[in-house]
């Protein structure tokens, strides 16, 4: 009996020990695991950033709807999915449908058009030639209330009678660096017509007119659509590889009642003065009376340019050289010479930087004698102007206009002509072949390597999405241009920031605009959850690298 009792006792003890070992020894196999999902299903990320062309204005484009048009519009979507094209804080992240296969031979082409409240409408055509390379593009929008230097604005309300205007003169006036004026004359009895050419029965005419001059870079940067349209229409023919060389530009918007005016029953007369220093690229001399300049109109919603007429320069009553033409419809009107037959030469650009290892993001462009943009770099199958430069970089401008005098200029800050840091002598881009650009930058600040991880964390699941998203980093208490745009591919990006600087960090994903701030320095740190974005960072002295992990909430189902 004792043996049996002992046996039972021993068995019970063994069973207890075994149970305890099993129970205490195990934890859930998936504990503390967040499943990762790559959500970069779309191709060719394109960030369109809308900014105020007037850098001193505190008003920035915020939230507005954007129209996507063009032959490949159906392939465009928001970078985080969907086709609800809404910009937030001026950011519009786009991407291409997975079925798109853009290449230099078969680019995907689409147009972005936006009517930003308080700003002149903007339009930009995009050519996507790579399915992987991210492209960011800044559109400079002109604010009516605070126009950029080098432009002139007129916003005026006039009377109509049943949609018919009396004799009306609308003029923009010189202001600041803008030394030219423009005048639009509406004949007495002119009827305001809508897009269907029906008379608009209204009693007031609201006119928003912007005259873009040629004397400032801020005006040039605001030039709708840029100077390299995909193609232009002239006399029923399409011309490709066009480069505009502008003598000015007029954005004319009129609204009768609540309807947009598109046509007039009688042509209106448009006259515009030309800058005294404007060089005629045909003669390579300042514009003289009798010089001719083609006039173009643009359908802003499609980005399509069309030749309208040719104007002849003449002195006006104020002794200024000016042109005059008649227009029967409203759109953007462009006073431009054009080069549709590029010389097909490749211009190779060799970059030399005096500080080895320094990789600044500078703007490097080919410009004409008026420092008007003629072409950007072609790196990694992507057109770009603001690029990361380094000593020894060799890149090309594959298509250059057939223009006699051009030069390469380098700016440390896009849109700021005072930031020019290097330029070459004038050369003929068609015959030069190779050009060396030597940059002597100021001593860079102490830099710190940053590895940034950005993930959307599902609120109801243990899943994190490795997003494809753009991250905007703006250095607090610094000049407006002190920002960096980074594309985070599959949730990861690597770049450099100034050691010790505090940055406002933002990303726009899935309809949410998430922000935080943090100081990137040689310490571990936290990014507080300011507006949905937050995380931590650790510093590794061995490689001078801060590794930051930022997350935002994501709805998953």
């Amino acid at each position: 009996m004792k043996a049996k009792y002992f046996t039972v006792t021993l068995t019970a003890i063994c069973a207890c020990i075994l149970s305890v070992l099993l129970i205490t020894g195990c934890r859930k196999p998936t504990a503390d695991i967040n499943w990762s999902v790559n959500t970069d299903v779309y191709k060719s990320p394109v960030l369109v950033r809308f900014v105020n062309a007037n850098s001193s204005s505190t008003t920035m484009p915020d939230e507005f709807t954007v129209q996507i048009s063009g032959k490949d519009a159906d392939k465009v979507m928001m970078g985080s999915g969907g086709t609800d094209f809404q910009a937030q804080k001026g950011f519009l992240p786009l991407a291409l449908d997975p079925s798109a296969n853009p290449s230099p031979e078969n680019p995907v082409i689409f147009n972005v058009y936006a009517k930003i409240p308080g700003f002149a409408p903007v339009s930009q055509t995009f050519i996507v030639t790579s399915d992987t390379i991210p492209v960011d593009h800044t559109i400079f929008a002109l604010e009516y209330a605070h126009p950029a230097d080098g432009t002139a604005v007129l916003q005026k309300s006039t009377t109509l009678s049943g949609g018919t205007a009396p004799a009306t003169v609308l003029s923009t006036s010189p202001s600041g660096s803008m030394t030219e004026s423009s005048t639009i004359t509406i004949q007495d009895g002119t009827q305001m017509l809508d897009a269907s050419q029906n008379v608009i029965n209204a009693s007031t005419l609201e006119s928003d007119i912007v005259h873009f001059g040629t004397s400032t870079q801020s005006s040039m940067l605001s030039f709708p659509g840029g100077f390299n349209p995909i193609d232009v229409q002239r006399d029923g023919q399409s011309y490709h590889d066009v480069t505009f060389k502008t003598g000015g530009f007029l954005s004319i918007k009129m609204t009768a009642g609540n309807s947009e005016v598109k046509f007039f029953s009688k042509p209106i007369t448009v006259s515009a003065q030309l800058n005294n220093e404007l060089i005629n690229p045909i003669t390579d001399q300042p514009v003289q009376a009798g010089d001719t300049i083609p006039i173009w109109s643009m359908n802003e919603q499609t980005g399509q340019w069309k030749y309208e007429t040719t104007a002849t320069a003449a002195l006006d009553g104020n002794g200024k050289m000016s042109i005059q033409f008649q227009a029967s419809h409203l759109s953007c009107w462009n006073i431009d010479w054009w080069f549709y037959n590029p010389c097909r030469s490749v211009l190779r650009v060799n970059v030399h930087i005096s500080i080895p290892g320094f990789r600044p993001q500078y703007e490097m462009v080919l410009v004409d004698a008026n420092e008007q943009y003629l072409g950007g770099l072609y790196t990694d199958n992507t057109w770009a102007t603001v690029v990361t430069l380094y000593d020894g970089l060799t890149t090309v401008i594959p298509t250059v206009p057939d223009i006699g005098r051009a030069k390469i200029v380098v700016y440390t800050r896009r849109g700021d002509p005072t930031s020019k840091i290097a330029e070459t002598a004038f050369f003929n881009p068609c015959t030069k072949g190779t050009i060396d650009v030597t940059i002597t930058p100021p001593g860079p600040p102490e830099l710190i390597n940053v590895k940034l991880n950005v993930q959307g964390k599902c609120t109801n699941k243990k899943v994190v999405a490795n997003v494809g998203a753009w991250v905007y980093l703006y250095k607090l208490n610094a000049a407006w241009w002190d920002w960096k745009i980074i594309y985070v591919n599959r949730g990861q990006a690597a770049f450099q920031l100034e050691n010790g600087a505090t940055y406002f960090v933002a990303t726009y994903y899935g309809g949410g605009f998430y922000t935080t701030t943090g100081t990137f320095n040689k310490n571990d740190m936290n990014f507080p959850q300011h507006n949905g974005l937050g995380g931590t960072a650790t510093y590794n002295a061995a490689n001078n690298t801060v590794t930051a992990y930022l997350t935002f909430a994501l709805n998953c189902r």
């Binding site: 043996a3 021993l10 075994l18 196999p29 790559n38 999405a465």
Partner: protein, 241 residues
Amino acid sequence: MCLKAAAQDIEKTQVAYAAVNSPFMALQRPLMKGGDIATSVIPGFSSKKAIAIFVGTQGVGADFRYGFLPRLSARIGGGVTPVNMPNAFQVNDFKSQVDLKVNFVNAHLIADFQPFPGSGFRLAVGAGYFVKAKTQADVTPTGSNTFGNITYDPGNLGDIKLTADWKGIAPYLGVGFLRTFPGNLFNVNIDLGTYYLTAPQTTIIGTKALSPNAENNAQFQKNLSSYRWLPVLQFNFNFRL
């Protein structure tokens, strides 16, 4: 009969040898003093060889058992655990099904000692070599999964395979109940014990959009690091040879 008598003589000799040399001798003495188990000690094994077919938590298998001494025997054999469990369970994080595959193959050598002759109670000590000791869970999406505005169809999301492999030598400790060797042709006994497996080697392999989950393997390995006890509840069907 002569053969049987001879066998009993040998067993008596073995019992006497064990009583003198066993480390449990001190434990046995008071029990033997009582005299109530003396009759159990003397008969010993009716046969010192047996074949067992077993089924239990470590799978199915067979082993050969040999009694070296009346209270000390050993068994050598092998077992397999081929388990496929389609749609074994659900995970909350994905609309998916999880197929579980368990493939354990082991060879083992275990000694059984009867501290209390006649009780059928055994202490079992030994080791197994797990030629295979792999568990695999296949997580396959079964419906649309949406992350933000991005929806994946099952075929586009990919899948996840989680594996853990305990291959290697594992010591065994346990207890047994009922006699190891059948008095007649056949009997059944029970083992209760555990293998202490090697630390598992884990992998996570994701495909397509789930490919980055390989980075979770370090945590997975950490979570499974304490999964080293393989409990054994085993029913042995013993056939006397």
